[in-house]
């Protein structure tokens, strides 16, 4: 092949490959992309009902409840404004604690609680998932400001 033809071939192949890759990956993207939804939004009913999403916040003190001898457990997660009941079956991560940050993957069940298939906890003392930190920070200021006026209430459906 002449150099010109080689270049044409290379560009052609690369073009076809990239086009195919784009189409396939974008299609696959839809099903595997999980949005992080703040707890308050979930409680207010603003969440995708047809696919998984992520929630995160602090595990409410005293909310962890587990059937003795079973892998089923439940707890509540808060963004310091609203609380959402979460149910999970399986082994919990090492750093799952009451009062600590947590992220859960799953969807809302028919009973209205969050049915988690994965629970992630932070990996060391000082680390919190940025989106969780952000959603908490929003309501910490709100809480302090709202104490006098009684705003910052949780609006559930």
């Amino acid at each position: 092949m002449t150099p010109r033809k080689q270049r044409m071939l290379a560009v052609g192949l690369a073009g076809v490959g990239i086009a195919l890759a784009t189409v396939f990956t974008l299609t696959a993207m839809k099903d595997n992309m999980m949005f992080f939804i703040p707890v308050s939004d979930v409680v207010a009913g603003e969440f995708p009902s047809d696919r998984n999403f992520r929630v995160g916040g602090l595990v409410v003190d005293g909310s962890v409840n587990r059937d003795p001898g079973s892998l089923e457990m439940s707890f509540r997660v808060t963004d310091l404004r609203c609380e959402l009941p979460v149910r999970y079956t399986g082994v919990l991560p090492d750093l799952f604690r009451e009062g600590q940050g947590v992220v859960a993957h799953g969807r809302i069940s028919n009973e209205g609680d969050f049915e988690a298939d994965t629970i992630l906890a932070k990996h060391d003392e000082n680390y919190m998932a940025p989106e969780v930190a952000e959603s908490l920070a929003e309501h910490v200021s709100e809480q302090t400001a709202g104490l006098a006026q009684g705003s910052g209430e949780c609006d559930s459906l």
């Binding site: 092949m1 002449t2 150099p3 080689q6 071939l9 290379a10 192949l13 690369a14 490959g17 990239i18 195919l20 890759a21 396939f24 990956t25 696959a28 993207m29 099903d31 595997n32 992309m33 999980m34 949005f35 992080f36 992520r54 587990r66 003795p68 001898g69 079973s70 892998l71 079956t89 399986g90 082994v91 919990l92 090492d94 750093l95 990996h123 060391d124 003392e125 680390y127 998932a129 940025p130 989106e131």
Partner: protein, 639 residues
């Protein structure tokens, strides 16, 4: 006193790096031999002072000098000495110092083995490396100084993150860095070639061994990281598509493309500008990886530093390096054209396809890693992209790559008659297809199209790689003695085959179950019975643990006994899972303790992982192939 010496040595190293980065480049431009000769001596000087600095920090760790903030935050009196040493690079500041140490060691090695190169050229290579050193030294001294003192000295340190107290993780970062930093040598060679305006086949011959060494260390580094994640993160996954893993995988993909493209440039003088672009990309992606990790910009288990000043500095550095290199490329690449031709069926075409697929793979990883960031910046929402997406998307370039690999390595340069190739390869191809169809059903009792394709691809690559060594060993008619570089290629590709086979089988037939288990109880998985005989207390130097004694039986016969632990580290009070793994060449049996569910009952995760060892074995064999290839005689005479 010792930490101050370390700090001061680092400042001297910066001054020497400035000399190394500026004077030889001016010398090469003016043809001034005196200025050019500064290159090697200043590089050696810089290395000596970086070693002093690194030794001082190590000393502070070994002596538990908690007046140094970095030591106080990442060590502890009861920490075993080996982890006190590995704690030096256990966090941001020290790992940067390690990066600088490795970079200057690479530079000294380049200086040592480039004496037969034209003096202008080696001066430019060392000069460019010097400029990169300046960037990293400035970064360390300005934003991440590990030698800062504390006003109040704590009685004991905060301890090293328990996850990092492990032999695998003690050596994973140094190996990974040798790989990352090694690509800076290929980068420097590329910049030097563009400055000289001359890129010939000799250039590729010089660059190839350096690139291969970097690539083989990166391969081992990534494989060790994956192995560590498998047994230490506790839950049996071996690749999570975590941004930090992706950050090391992207340069690996580009580096792999680069060593293949360099082969064409060396043998045929083709793909010159493409090779340059790959050398620039491989190193730029190493830097980008550092940026992603160090700035803590992405959600990641590794994000141990969240400091905007650091992120900004690396971003600026990244911008200067990439934009500078690309501008130079835009000016110089058009002059590097070559006119050699090749037929459609030829090794050149197969290597071109290899490059296209590898670059697409890197683009997919890049897209998946940075998409969440882009969504966030645009305010569309906070998304995460899960492993299923990566796994699916990666099939797209990787499957054709695997299938073509078996053909490509037997194709001749320039032109390959199709008939000869077909005759040579039809038997291995038939065997591979037969095994692909038969194996899943016979060995694992289940079939599927994707599994069969994966198994066939793995076997196909292995057989095809063995073909030439086998014929050469049997001294068959028409077979020639294999030079080391060809043997290395066969070995590395055999490793790819093992790797493909391992991934296919473990993804398809992995069994994982979470169960509640009480002492004396048993869980059945894949025909193996896991019986929890007893729970007892155990103790380590800086942790206490609850240890389970689990007997694994198959048809009543004892297969193995494992001791999974739940550790509590005394200083940080963190709980850590230490999995019990019974390893075998054909399967791993895995059990990890979850949490206590009351009265001697624990939640456990039990797993059966067929052929998982092939994944890491395959990676190590790939690296071994690289090692064999660079021992080829022609590289020794080139040095």
């Amino acid at each position: 006193m010792i930490p101050e010496i370390g700090h001061f040595a680092l400042i001297i190293a910066l001054a020497l790096a400035l000399c190394q980065g500026v004077l030889p480049l001016i010398g090469a431009h003016r043809g001034d031999a005196t200025l050019m000769s500064v290159a090697r001596t200043s590089a050696q000087g810089q290395f000596i002072f970086v070693v002093i600095s690194f030794a001082c920090l190590t000393w502070a760790f070994v002596q538990s000098d908690f007046s140094v903030e970095y030591v106080a935050n990442h060590s502890q009196l009861a920490l075993p000495t080996v982890y006190k040493i590995s704690a030096v690079w256990g966090a941001h500041e020290g790992s940067l110092l390690l990066w600088i140490l490795i970079m200057s060691a690479w530079t000294v090695a380049v200086g040592r083995y480039s004496k037969k190169l034209p003096p202008e050229f080696s001066a430019r290579v060392i000069g460019v490396l010097g400029l990169l050193s300046v960037g990293f030294l400035l970064f360390t001294l300005l934003t991440s100084n590990p030698f800062l003192r504390l006003a109040v000295i704590p009685p004991d340190g905060a301890d090293l993150n328990p996850l990092l107290q492990d032999p695998g993780l003690a050596i994973h970062p140094p190996l990974l860095y040798v790989g990352y930093v090694g690509f800076s040598v290929a980068f420097a060679f590329a910049i030097a070639a563009m400055l000289t305006g001359n890129l010939d086949q000799k250039w590729a011959k010089w660059t190839r061994p350096w690139t291969t060494v970097a690539w083989l260390f990166l391969t081992i580094g990534i494989a060790l990281g994956s192995w560590w994640a498998y047994y230490e993160l506790g839950w049996g996954g071996w690749w999570f598509w975590d941004p930090v893993e992706n950050a090391s995988f992207m340069p690996w993909l580009m580096g792999t493309a680069l060593i293949h493209s360099l082969a064409v440039t060396e043998k045929r003088g083709l793909f010159k500008s493409w090779t340059l672009l790959l050398a620039i990309s491989a190193f730029s992606l190493s830097l980008l990886g550092t940026f992603l990790v160090r700035s803590g910009i992405l959600v990641s288990v590794h994000a141990f530093a969240t400091d905007p000043a650091r992120g900004f500095f690396i971003l600026a550095f990244l911008g200067i390096v990439i934009i500078g290199a690309l501008v130079l490329y835009a000016i110089r690449a058009p002059e590097l054209d070559s006119n050699a031709g090749f037929k459609l069926v030829s090794r050149e075409t197969f290597l071109l396809l290899n490059n296209i697929f590898l670059v697409i793979a890197a683009a997919i990883v890049f897209y998946g890693t940075l998409m969440p960031l882009l969504y966030d910046v645009m305010g569309v929402g906070k998304i995460s992209i899960g492993p299923p997406w990566f796994e699916f998307a990666m099939l797209l370039p990787m499957l054709p790559l695997a299938l073509l690999l078996g053909v490509g390595m037997h194709a001749a340069w320039r032109a390959q008659p199709e008939g000869v190739l077909l005759r040579k390869l039809r038997i291995p191809a038939l065997i591979a297809v037969a095994i692909g169809i038969a194996l899943p059903g016979i060995a694992y009792g289940r079939t599927g199209i994707l599994v069969s394709v994966g198994v066939a691809a793995g076997i196909w690559i292995m057989l095809s790689s063995l073909l030439d060594p086998w014929r050469s060993w049997r001294r068959e008619a028409g077979a020639t003695a294999m030079p080391r570089s060809a043997l290395g290629m066969s070995v590395a590709h055999f490793g790819v085959g093992l790797f493909v086979l391992g991934i296919t089988i473990v993804s398809a037939f992995n069994i994982e179950t979470d169960q509640a288990m009480r002492t004396g109880g048993a869980v059945e998985v894949a025909g193996y019975s896991f019986e929890l005989r007893e729970l007892r207390d155990a103790e380590g130097p800086n942790y206490q643990a609850i240890e389970g004694r689990v007997e694994i039986r198959r048809d009543e016969a004892l297969v193995g006994e494992v001791l999974p632990q739940k550790r509590q580290y005394l200083v940080q009070q963190n709980w850590m899972t230490e999995a019990g793994i019974s390893a075998g060449w054909n399967r791993d049996l895995f059990i990890a303790l979850g949490d206590q569910l009351g009265n001697n009952t624990w939640s456990v995760r039990v797993q059966y992982k067929p052929l998982i060892r092939f994944i890491w074995l395959g990676a190590f064999i790939m690296a071994l192939g690289g090692l064999i290839a660079i021992s080829d005689r022609r590289y020794r005479s080139a040095a």
